[in-house]
Homo-oligomer: 162 residues x 2
């Protein structure tokens, strides 16, 4: 198992770092890259009040991935997993698994009971859907043509029980 | 049909007006009232960049209801209906129907093709679910115990075709 260190504090430099990381992953449109970046900026500006929490995973002091999550307003114990991204050069090493496990443990410590993740039905996201499936998420809902014609929104749920 | 005038401009005084209106409806928790209010504040501070659009309905110069909606980032033509509220003293007059029709027309003018609304499965929201059903929405998804044990999230979709 790759040796990782985790950091929850968000630095201003993370804004550019996340933009570069998400860009490099090649998965996301420029709009999506800006959304990912804006959540970091929200946290830098407003702290925990932003509702966006982060875990950065570093290997040999280099950030190789991060997750962004937060409690869902109006629910008593639901959390959203907004993003989980691993640098493409560091994939296949189980870093996503370690990062998700660490994130789930933190959410559980914060009182979270259910974790929600959304993704697309298109082929490019097959690895993402497979990742969620292997990690104990189940497909609880599907909204047809949500993102675009033929591109459905897939709603995954995981029950946390640490 | 009740004679209504509609306004899209958001004034700073709408922050307090919406808080009072949503409070008076008796439907929403204090957390939810604050969420509704914060969306108005976001618009006052950031304008259309906030992503939150409003339509206020007035009868004899008194605001009797409003809707809050916006384009869904990452989708090509999806819109969320965040809130639609009618003053309890003005209910049963078809104001919600007029307000929704006007909102759907505006969304359609903005290129929206599908409108999404979420509500709860609990008894208190039976009129809300019935309203969406009568207005051409269908239940496309349901997330069990989303808000709380026994309180599911109901995902409604309407295809707009003006």
């Amino acid at each position: 198992m790759v040796d990782l260190s985790f950091r929850e504090e968000v630095w201003e430099s993370d804004i550019d770092m996340v933009r570069a990381l998400v860009n490099r992953s090649g998965f996301f449109s420029s709009d999506e890259v800006e959304i990912a970046t804006s959540l970091v900026r929200e946290h830098v500006e407003r702290g925990l009040d932003s509702g966006y929490f982060f875990i950065f995973a570093a290997r040999d002091d280099i950030t190789v991935g991060y997750s962004c999550y937060g409690p869902i307003p109006g629910t008593i114990d639901g959390f959203d997993l907004y993003w989980i991204v691993v640098d493409p050069e560091s994939q296949g090493l189980g870093i996503g698994h370690q990062l998700l496990t660490h994130t789930e443990q933190r959410i559980s410590q914060m009182g979270g009971k259910r974790l929600y993740a959304e993704t697309s039905s298109t082929d490019i996201y097959t690895p993402t859907r497979s990742f969620y499936g292997k990690r104990g998420f189940f497909l609880e809902g599907r909204l047809a043509d949500y993102y675009a014609p033929g591109d459905d929104k897939m709603l995954y749920t995981k029950h946390l029980d640490f």
